[in-house]
Amino acid sequence: MVDKQGEGARGQSATSAWSVPEGRRTDEWSQCVVRIAEHRDRAAFAKFFAHFAPLIKAFALSGSSLSAAHADELVQEVMLKVWQKAAGFNPEKAAASTWVYTIARNCRTDMFRRLQKFDTQLEAEDVGFELESDEPTMALHASRGAIRVRELLGDLPQDQAQILAKVYMEGKSHSETAAELGLPLGTVKSRVRLAIQKLQVFMEAGSEE
């Protein structure tokens, strides 16, 4: 499984903006998850924990939305889900970092909802979408996307980087972001679109309405 992915990555010509060389980090973490899935490998799990737990905690504490105790609880929940869901991880579909990010995102949403005592019994997974596509081109692009985007993030103007951080790391809606920054909603919307353009996320120009 892992070898196959490595082969696919090498076989791809580096012509598109997204075809950056496969980073070792991504391979390493994807292999970790595969070992957890196939061998219930606790050493691999420990290695994965050591790297990602501090990032999950940072994510939990973004915007001071959760207390330190709740942040630790979130780290536990996410890492237990990693152990439980490892078998469903497909290294050809997504980078391990993106996979764990989506788990952390959903766990945090569910924790927010529990803490705010929403009466609606829906979990983030019930109202979300999990990519099932096995399209090899899509998977390759997806696994490289995070690396490419990480490289471009540093070049974003401060006002756009700040808004992306609010939107993704703090999980704020555009309206909440606008209210917190004292900006018109339209400004927030256009900065998000500009940032996404700069990160060269969308392959197809004109996919926008």
Partner: protein, 234 residues
């Protein structure tokens, strides 16, 4: 780069009777990717994603941004005891049965039925000769969330909204002052826009719709039906 999109388009050509031409905009999809839409709006976007390859691809790319920010965060020290705690629970979660339909909530079950197109078992209420509504509840108390079934030749009285209306066509199609929409199309109407959707000839039209505020009907003879709650009771 364009070749990729074209390739997917070709692969999928003919899979749907009508091409999806109306999609969530970038801002909506970004909020979806970051889990910041309301529950009801998330469900509408997710149901669109179930059948839209283009938006699936865009979502994957938007999730990459979240992932890149997540990985670039300044790590926060985690106490070593936390790993021991997790380790101690591994066997426990191993034996725990995976989540399944049996322990899903009623609402989660309903949402699943809607996303799978099983609409017969919903609680449909006849509103007019040609209009039926199935109420999915005011999720989180923040939105009106319903399915509309407009019989062939029927329409919804002209109305405008005091809040944003998000509609996804599930079956058939409808047309209004702005154009025609078919299965899979995702349509947003901003507050204040007036329209009177009518089912397109050739079959009934079923839509999933979220209203951020109740509909206001504008024609005087429909005033009695306004707001939506009364419309349902009628």
């Amino acid at each position: 780069m364009q070749g990729r999109s074209r390739a997917i388009g070709q692969d999928r050509a003919g899979q749907f009777k009508t091409m999806i031409t109306h999609h969530p905009d970038t801002n909506t999809l970004t909020e979806f990717a970051a889990n910041s839409l309301s529950c009801a709006q998330s469900i509408v976007v997710a149901t669109h994603l179930d059948t839209c390859e283009l938006c699936q691809q865009r979502l994957a790319e938007l999730e990459c941004i979240g992932s890149a920010l997540f990985e670039s965060a300044e790590p926060v020290d985690v106490d070593a005891s936390l790993f021991d705690l997790v380790l101690a629970k591994l066997d426990e979660v191993e034996e725990a049965p995976a989540a399944n339909d049996a322990n899903a909530s009623d609402l989660a079950w309903t949402v699943k039925q809607v996303r799978q197109g099983n609409l017969g078992g919903l609680n449909w209420r006849k509103v007019t000769k040609t209009l039926k509504i199935a109420d999915l509840g005011a999720i989180d108390g923040a939105a009106e969330f319903s399915l509309y079934h407009i019989a062939e030749g029927g329409s919804i009285p002209q109305h405008n909204h005091s809040g944003t209306e998000t509609t996804l066509v599930l079956q058939g199609g409808f047309s209004d002052e702005t154009g025609s929409y078919h299965a899979g199309d995702f349509v947003t109407r901003e507050a204040g826009e007036e329209h009177s959707p009518a089912a397109i000839a050739g079959g009934d039209c079923i839509c999933l719709a979220v209203l951020e505020a109740p509909l206001r009907f504008t024609r005087w003879h429909h005033r009695l039906l306004s707001p939506l709650l009364q419309l349902r009771a009628g």
